[in-house]
Symmetry: C2
Subunit: 122 residues, 2 copies
DNA sequence: TTCATAATTCGACATATTTCGAATAATAGA
DNA sequence: TCTATTATTCGAAATATGTCGAATTATGAA
C-alpha cells in the first residue's frame, strides 16, 4: 500500500471514527431502496436536516460533520433549492469493503523473517 | 444499528484513522501465507519490533499504537519469551468487510420521508 | 547475578477534534 | 421587499490525540 493510499484510507476511517458521523454515514447506507443493491443509479438522497434528525446535535455541528464526510470522499452533497441533498456513491462502499477482504491484500514475500528465528517453528 | 454497535465500530475506525496504525494493521493483513485465505488457523504472527520496522516512530509510540489497535479489538497480542507477537483474527476482517457490503445494511422503511415532498419526484 | 534486548509505562508538550452559539448566506414564498 | 426556513461559517472553549525521551519491566543468556 503506497503512502498515498494509506493517507487516503486513513482519512476515510478518521471521518467514520466519530459516532455521530458514523451514524450519519450509516443512515445514508440504510436508506437505499429496499430489495435492491444500494445505488447503481437509484441512489437515494437525504437532505441535511433530515439526516441529523434525532441525533441531538446543533445544526452547526451537523454541518461540520457532513463536511468532514464529504472531504474524506465518503458522501456527495448538492444544493437543490433551499435544501442540500446528500448521497453515497456505491463505489465508495465497494472500495472499503474490498480493503478488508484479505484476498486483495495478499503479497508474496514482503514480510519474510518478521519473527525472530527461535519463534518461527512452534 | 444500535448505539453499542455504532460505538464499537467507530472505535475500530478511530484506531485505523491514524496512518501509522493503518500501516501496522495492513502489514498484519499482508503477511498471511501467500495463496491461502488469510487466517483460518494459519494466521501468521509478527513481533512488535518487526512490525514497526521502517515506520520511523519511537518504540514507545509504536507500543502505544499497537495498544490502541488491540483495545479496539482489531489485533491480538501475546508475549512469547522476550518478544510480543501480534496477529489478526480473520473474523475481524470479515466483520468490517461485511459492514460496507450495502446488502447487509438494507432496512425496509426506516427512512421514509427523509426528503421534503417537493424534492422527491425529480 | 549481571548484562543486553524487547517492549511498556509515564509525564510532558504540541497539535487536532468536538461542540456550541452567534452571525451570515441562500433560497422560496407572501 | 420582507419573512421564514435551511444550512454554513466563524470563533471560542473543553477535551482528545500523537509523539517523544526517560525510566521501568520482562525475559533469556553469559
Amino acid at each position: 500500500m503506497s503512502n498515498y493510499e494509506t493517507n487516503n484510507l486513513s482519512a476515510m476511517f478518521k471521518a467514520l471514527s466519530n459516532p455521530h458521523r458514523l451514524a450519519l454515514f450509516h443512515r445514508l447506507m440504510s436508506c437505499c431502496a429496499p430489495g435492491t443493491r444500494c445505488g447503481l443509479e437509484e441512489t437515494s438522497r437525504v437532505c441535511v436536516g433530515a439526516l441529523g434528525d434525532g441525533l441531538e446535535i446543533a445544526p452547526s455541528t451537523l454541518s461540520h460533520h457532513l463536511k468532514e464526510l464529504h472531504r474524506a470522499g465518503l458522501i456527495q452533497m448538492e444544493r437543490r433549492g433551499k435544501f442540500v441533498e446528500c448521497w453515497l456513491e456505491p463505489s465508495v462502499l465497494a472500495e472499503l469493503s474490498a480493503f478488508f477482504k484479505s484476498d486483495s491484500n495478499l503479497r508474496s514475500n514482503d514480510h519474510e523473517q518478521l519473527l525472530p528465528t527461535q519463534n518461527r517453528q512452534d
